[in-house]
Symmetry: C3
Subunit: 344 residues, 3 copies
C-alpha cells in the first residue's frame, strides 16, 4: 500500500493537520509506530505515545487536544477506531482476489459452479456439489458429494467438508476446519465392545458465519447440527452432533459443546469453556473462560464461572474465601481450643 495523508483524509472524510503529502506504506500500533506508517489514537491510555511515535500519520478524534508538540501529521475524524477499521477493510478489499479454476484440481463433472468462483489447486469438488457466485475455494479444500456452498463465501486451504453438508452465503471457514465428521455415538455391547451408531445427518451453516482454524463441527446422528446466522467460532472449538448454536453467538478458542445442546442467540462463551450435552442455554448467556456448564440456563441469566459453573459474582466471592482457607482452618482450630478452655 502507498497513500498520502491527503488521500486517506479524503477516504475517511477527515481533516489533515500537518503535511498532507506525508506518505505511508503500512499500518502500525502507536506504541511501536515506525517511519512511513499510519497509526491511530483511540484509547486515552495510549495518548503518551503520540508525542514520541515515529509513525508519520496518526488518525485522532476531532476532540483530541495535544498537550505537547507532535511531529506526526494528524488526520482528525469523528471516531478514530472506526475510521481505522474502515480503512483496513478498504485495504483488504483492494487486495487482488483469486479467480478461476487452478490446475491440477478435481471438479466432478456433476458439480455446479457459480460466476467468478475460485477453485485452488488440489481442491476436491465431489459429485453434485453446488458452489455459489464469487465464492473462493482455496487449495487442498475437500467438498464431499452433495455439499452446497453459498455466494461470497471464503473457504481457506485444507478445510474438509463431508458429504451432504450445507454452507451459507458470506461465510468464512478457516484453514483446517472440519465440517461434518461423524458424531461420537457408540452403543456398548455385552462384551464392552462399542458398536458405532451410524451418523446419517449433516451440518447446516447459515449465512455470515465465521469458523476458526482447526475447529470441528460433527454431523448430526439424524437431522442437522445447526450453526445459525452470524455465529462466530474461534479456533480449535469442538461442536458435537446435533448441537444448535443460536444467531450471533460468539465462542472463544478451544471451547467445546457436547451433543444435542441448544445454545441461544447472542451468547458469549469464553475460551476453553465446556458445555455438557442435552442442555438448553438461554439467549444472551455469558460463560467465563474454562467454565464448565452442567445445567440449562435461562435467557438473560447471570454470567457463569467455575467448574461446575454458577453465577460469576457468587463464584468470585467464594473464590476469595477459597484463597483464605488455610487461615479459616487455623481460626477453627483456635476457636476449638478457646471453647475447650471456656468449658473448663
Amino acid at each position: 500500500m502507498k497513500f498520502t495523508a491527503g488521500q486517506i483524509a479524503e477516504l475517511l472524510n477527515g481533516k489533515v493537520e500537518g503535511n498532507k503529502d506525508a506518505i505511508v506504506t503500512n499500518v502500525s500500533k502507536i506504541e511501536d509506530g515506525k517511519p512511513d506508517t499510519l497509526t491511530f489514537l483511540a484509547n486515552p491510555k495510549y495518548t503518551q505515545y503520540i508525542y514520541t511515535t515515529q509513525a508519520d500519520v496518526v488518525i485522532v478524534d476531532h476532540a483530541f487536544t495535544p498537550e505537547h508538540p507532535i511531529n506526526a501529521t494528524l488526520i482528525r475524524v469523528s471516531n478514530a477506531y472506526e475510521a481505522l477499521a474502515k480503512l483496513m477493510e478498504m485495504y483488504e478489499q483492494s487486495q487482488p482476489k483469486k479467480n478461476g479454476i487452478e490446475q491440477p484440481s478435481f471438479v466432478d463433472k456433476t458439480a455446479t459452479l457459480g460466476d467468478f468462483v475460485y477453485v485452488g489447486a488440489f481442491a476436491y469438488v465431489g459429485e453434485n456439489v453446488k458452489i455459489g457466485n464469487n465464492t473462493q475455494i482455496y487449495p487442498q479444500v475437500f467438498l464431499g458429494d452433495n455439499v452446497t456452498v453459498g455466494d461470497n463465501t471464503i473457504i481457506y486451504p485444507g478445510v474438509k467438508i463431508y458429504k451432504h453438508c450445507k454452507i451459507g452465503n458470506n461465510c468464512i471457514l478457516h484453514a483446517g476446519a472440519v465440517i461434518g465428521s461423524d458424531g461420537f455415538g457408540f452403543a456398548p455391547d455385552e462384551n464392552n465392545n462399542f458398536k458405532k451408531i451410524a451418523q446419517i445427518g449433516n451440518v447446516v451453516i447459515e449465512d455470515h458465519v465465521e469458523i476458526g482454524a482447526n475447529t470441528t463441527v460433527d454431523r448430526a446422528t439424524m437431522g442437522s447440527t445447526l450453526i445459525k446466522r452470524g455465529v462466530k467460532l474461534d479456533n480449535l472449538i469442538q461442536i458435537a452432533h446435533n448441537v444448535e448454536v443460536g444467531e450471533n453467538t460468539v465462542m472463544a478458542a478451544q471451547s467445546g459443546i457436547a451433543g444435542s445442546t441448544k445454545i441461544g442467540k447472542n451468547c458469549m462463551l469464553g475460551g476453553q469453556c465446556a458445555i455438557a450435552g442435552h442442555l438448553v442455554i438461554g439467549d444472551q448467556t455469558k460463560v467465563g473462560a474454562q467454565a464448565g456448564i452442567i445445567k440449562s440456563t435461562k435467557d438473560n441469566g447471570p454470567a457463569l464461572l467455575g467448574s461446575p459453573a454458577f453465577d460469576i459474582s457468587k463464584f468470585n466471592r467464594c473464590y476469595v474465601i477459597f484463597k483464605r482457607l488455610p487461615e479459616l482452618s487455623a481460626q477453627l482450630d483456635s476457636i476449638n481450643k478457646e471453647i475447650k478452655n471456656l468449658k473448663q
Copy 2:
C-alpha cells in the same frame, strides 16, 4: 432413500399399524418430525410428541400404548432405539462406496495396495506403504514411507500419518487427524536453549479404533505409542508420546494425555480432561469433564472430578460447601465475636 412402512417393517421384523404404503424419504427426530420422514419413540420423555409429530412413520416398542389418537403409521418392534440404529446402519451401508485410484494421486511404485481399495485424488502414498483390502483412503490423505493400513479401514480427507506408523483393520480416522508427529521432547542446555530429542519410535493403532477429527497422536521417542483394540477417541484430543490406551477405552473431545501414561481398558474420559505424564490409570476408571488427574489410579476405582481430581462424590460434597464459603466465613466472624463476649 425411499422406503414404504411395509418394507421397513420387513427389514426390522416389525409389525405395521396403519398405512403400510406410507412413504418416507428421510429420518427425523420425533420432536421436529417432518412430513415424509421416519422417526422413533424410545425415551418416554418424548411420548407427548407422538400425538403431534408430522413424521409419517414412527417406530415404537411393542409395549407402547397410545393415550390419544395418532396420525402416523406405527411400526412395532421389540426395541425401537436398536431398530432405528440398525436401520441407519443399513442405510449407511447401502450408500455407494468409492473405489479405485482417482487421478491425480501419488502412489509410490513400491507401495502395495489390496483389493477394492479407494485412493482419492491428491492422496500421497509413500514408499513401501501397505494398504489392506476394501480400505478407503480419501483425497488429500498423507501416508508416509513404510506406513501400513489394514483391511476395511476408512481414512477420511486430510489425515496425515507419519512414516513407520501402523493402522489396524476396521478403523476409522476422521479428517485432519495427525498420527505420528514428533513427541514433545527437548533437553535444556546451559544457555536455556532447548535441544530436540529425536523421536524415532512410531504409533501403532490396533483394530476397530475410531479417531476423531483433528485429534493428534504423537510417535514414541522409542518403541510405540499404542492405541489398543476398540478404543474410540473423539475430536481434538492430544495423545502424547509413549502413551498406551487400553482396549475399549473411550475419550470425549479435547481431552489430553501427557507422555508415557498407561491408561487401562474400558475407561471413560470426559471432555477437556487432562491426565499427567508417567501415570498408570486402572481399568474401568471414569474421569469427569475438565478433571485433571495427577496420580495413578487402581482398577475399578471411584469416578474422579476436580483439578487436581479426586473421588467425584467427595468432590461434589466439597463443592457444595465451596459455594457456601462466604456464609461460613461470616459464621466464623460471628463465632469469634461470641467467644470474645463469653470471655469477658
Copy 3:
C-alpha cells in the same frame, strides 16, 4: 538400522563389556527390551530390569556396578541418557532426506527456491514465496503469497501458512498446523450483528522454533504475532492475534493464549492452561496444567496454579483444606451448638 556393539561404542566414545559383535537393529525401553535391540539404563528406578531385559546391548554409565549377572553386552559411557539421545539423533540424521520437486505440485513462477529444497506432491507455493536452502516442504503444504521460509526448516504435510507470514531458519512445523489465520476480531453493531475487523497483519516465527501438530497461530490485526527464537509449542495450542511469545518459552499441548498478551522468555506453560488477553507475563514464569491466568506476572515470580491462578504452593495449601470442607462445615455446626450451650 543395523550396528554392532563395537560400532556403537566407537560412535559414543564408550567401552564394550561383553560381545563387541552383538548386532542391534532397533532401540527399545529397558523394561520391555526385545532381542536384537539396543537400550539404556539412566534412571536408577529401572536398574532391576537390566538383569532380565532381552535387549542385546545396554548403554550404562561408567559408574554402574551390577549386583547380579547380566546377559546383555554393556557399553559404558560418561552419561547414558545423553549418549542414547546423541545416538538417536545420529540415526535420525542418517535417514534418507527427500529432495527435489515432486509432481504434481504447484510452484508459482514468481517463487524463489533455495538449494537442496524438497517440495512434495500437492504442495502449493504461491506468488513471490521465498524458500531457503535445505528446507523441506512436505506434500499438501500450503504457502500463501509472499510467505518466506528460511533455511533448514521442515514443514510437515498439510501445514497451511497464510499470505505474508515469515518462518525462520531451523524451524519444524508439524502436520496440520495453521499459521496466519485471521485473528478473532469483531465489532458488534446496533443489531447485535458482529462486523469483522480486517486482520491485515501477519505472523513472524523466528529461528529454531518448533510448532506442534494442529496448533493454530493467528495473524495480527496490524503488525505481527511474534513467536521468538527457540520457542517450542506442543500440539493443539491456540495463539491469538498480536500475541508475543518470548525466547525459549515452552508450552504443553492444548494451552491457549488470548489476544495481545506478551509472554516473557524461558517460561514453561502446562497443558490446557489459558492466559487471558492484554497481559504481560514475566520471564521464567511457570504455569501449571489447566491453570487460568487473568493477571500480569513479574519476572521470576512463583509458579501458578488454579483458575483463576495464584501461587502454586498457596493454591495447594488451599486445596488441601478444600478437600476437608465437609469436615470444617461440620465443625462449625458443632461449635455453634457449643456456644449456644455455653451462653445458657
